[in-house]
């Protein structure tokens, strides 16, 4: 019997001894983790999209906990999450402007001309390699839907050869911005209703030949803007969204309607 009891007793006894020793040591050497980090982590969306620039939501949570990142760093969560995190961290809630991605091109199949018929892989990056894509305008949306494919939130649709972002679904993760070979997707404030939806730096005549809704650089918008929100460079008007009051006058005056407006009744407001 002792041939069994002794080894079992020795091994079991030693195991028990070490176990007790370790559990005592774990209390003595316990490392206090910041409970705030865990709470912040819970408040974050958990999509691990990386839009904040940190390796996943865990990375951002510990950065916020250390104070290395602002409480508003998560663009996906928007103000709701920022407020929650601000509560946890004991900072005053900062109002964040929600931003959404907007495709700055309206040159769909009817309005923009093609220089050749593309019959290759349905991917904008592939098409772009072939002489900058099939569109006559070298700045325009190619419409193969690469942005749609990379969108995890089903917010992008291709309508008549041009990508359109559903701003209700967009979380500003910037995945489409990184994927677009033409770099025509930009983040625009959610409330912004007037946007110059053209990225063409070509001169007016070239734009007119290629597309019926391009910015031809006539500067009518610049002259008519009551708050001087426009900057004009390389034959292209740009709106400073911080100054713009969404009055809609520019969209109304724009001869090619390159300035898109989400305002319901432009004419009444303009008057």
């Amino acid at each position: 019997m002792s041939a069994i009891i002794e080894p079992v007793g020795v091994l079991g006894g030693l195991g028990l001894l070490f176990g007790i020793g370790l559990s005592l040591a774990s209390q003595v050497f316990a490392v206090e983790t910041d409970p705030k980090v865990e709470e912040v982590r819970k408040a974050l969306p958990g999509a691990n999209c990386g839009a904040c620039g940190f390796p996943g939501c865990d990375g951002l949570a510990s950065a916020i906990g250390k104070g290395e990142a602002p409480v508003t760093a998560c663009s996906v969560g928007g103000s709701a999450v920022a407020n929650k995190i601000a509560d946890i961290m004991g900072v005053n809630a900062v109002e964040t402007t929600r931003e959404v991605a907007v495709v700055l091109c309206q040159g769909d199949c009817d309005k923009a001309k093609n220089k050749y018929i593309y019959d290759g892989i349905q991917d904008c990056r592939a098409e772009n390699i072939l002489a900058g894509g099939s569109k006559s305008c070298s700045y325009g949306c190619l419409g193969c839907g690469t942005c749609k494919d990379v969108c995890d939130y089903d917010a992008i649709q291709i309508v008549n050869g041009v990508a359109i972002v559903d701003k209700e679904k967009c979380v500003a993760c910037k995945a489409c911005i990184d994927a677009c070979p033409k770099e025509i997707i930009e983040l625009v404030p959610y409330e912004q209703e007037v946007v110059v939806k053209c990225m063409s730096n070509d001169a007016g005549k070239v734009v007119r030949n290629n597309c019926s809704v391009g910015c031809i650089g006539c500067k009518i918008c610049v002259k008519n803007c009551p708050v001087d929100a426009f900057t004009f460079e390389n034959y292209l008007a740009k709106i400073d969204y911080d100054i713009c009051t969404n009055c809609g006058i520019c969209a109304d005056k724009c001869p090619t309607k390159a300035i898109w407006s989400g305002l319901e009744d432009i004419e009444t407001i303009a008057q």
Binding site: P7, V10, L11, L14, G15, G21, A25, S26, F29, V31
Partner: protein, 190 residues
């Protein structure tokens, strides 16, 4: 056998890494930077010395008395595992940077054959407690010297234009082999 002989023997002649080929895993894994190599050497020194003392006491006081020498391996592994856990807790508390630098290699000391090798060799050589302690210290100093030497060489190799097929681990293995040959020169010293 006097203590000096034991030290010289374990550090140079019978260097555990370069002559006995034990502990190759951390030797190649943690040898990218001198800093982490030093940290690893210190951690191994601590674990080896402490575990040798404890295993020696257990061997003499329990296993030999009860005639359970056949439990040697499993009991020694138990001791080493518990000790590594303990060291991990201490390092995590006292030096988080070292803890992160050592990363997965710290728990890997558990299965590091140097630790078990030293513990078993101490018993096989019939050392007494003092000799055991110095043999363990010598063994870990030898391990540390080998680790720091190769990490120094690998740091120097970093900017060198190595043929593409030999980049990274292949050149490290060649380096290790050359170092091992160099250490053969200590043969017959003791």
């Amino acid at each position: 056998m006097n203590i000096l002989t034991i030290l010289v023997s374990t550090v140079f002649v019978n260097n555990f890494v370069l002559a006995r080929f034990l502990g190759i895993c951390p030797f190649l894994g943690v040898s990218n930077k001198i800093e982490t190599a030093t940290g690893m050497s210190i951690a191994v020194t601590f674990v080896v010395t402490l575990s040798s003392i404890i295993t020696y006491v257990i061997q003499v006081a329990i296993l030999d008395v009860l005639g359970l020498q056949y439990l040697q391996t499993i009991v020694f592994i138990l001791v080493i595992a518990a000790l590594v856990q303990f060291v991990e807790m201490v390092i995590k508390k006292t030096s988080p940077t070292l803890y992160e630098a050592l990363g997965v290699y710290l728990p890997l000391i558990t299965t590091n054959c140097v630790v078990l090798g030293v513990a078993i060799l101490n018993i096989q050589e019939g050392f007494n407690l003092i000799e055991t302690i110095f043999n363990s210290i010598g063994a870990s100093i030898g391990f540390g010297i080998a680790l720091i030497l190769i990490s120094g060489i690998r740091e120097q190799l970093e900017p060198v234009d190595v043929p593409e097929a030999l980049e990274g681990f292949p050149i490290a293995l060649i380096t290790a082999g050359l170092m091992s040959i160099a250490f053969l020169g200590f043969n017959g010293l003791v």
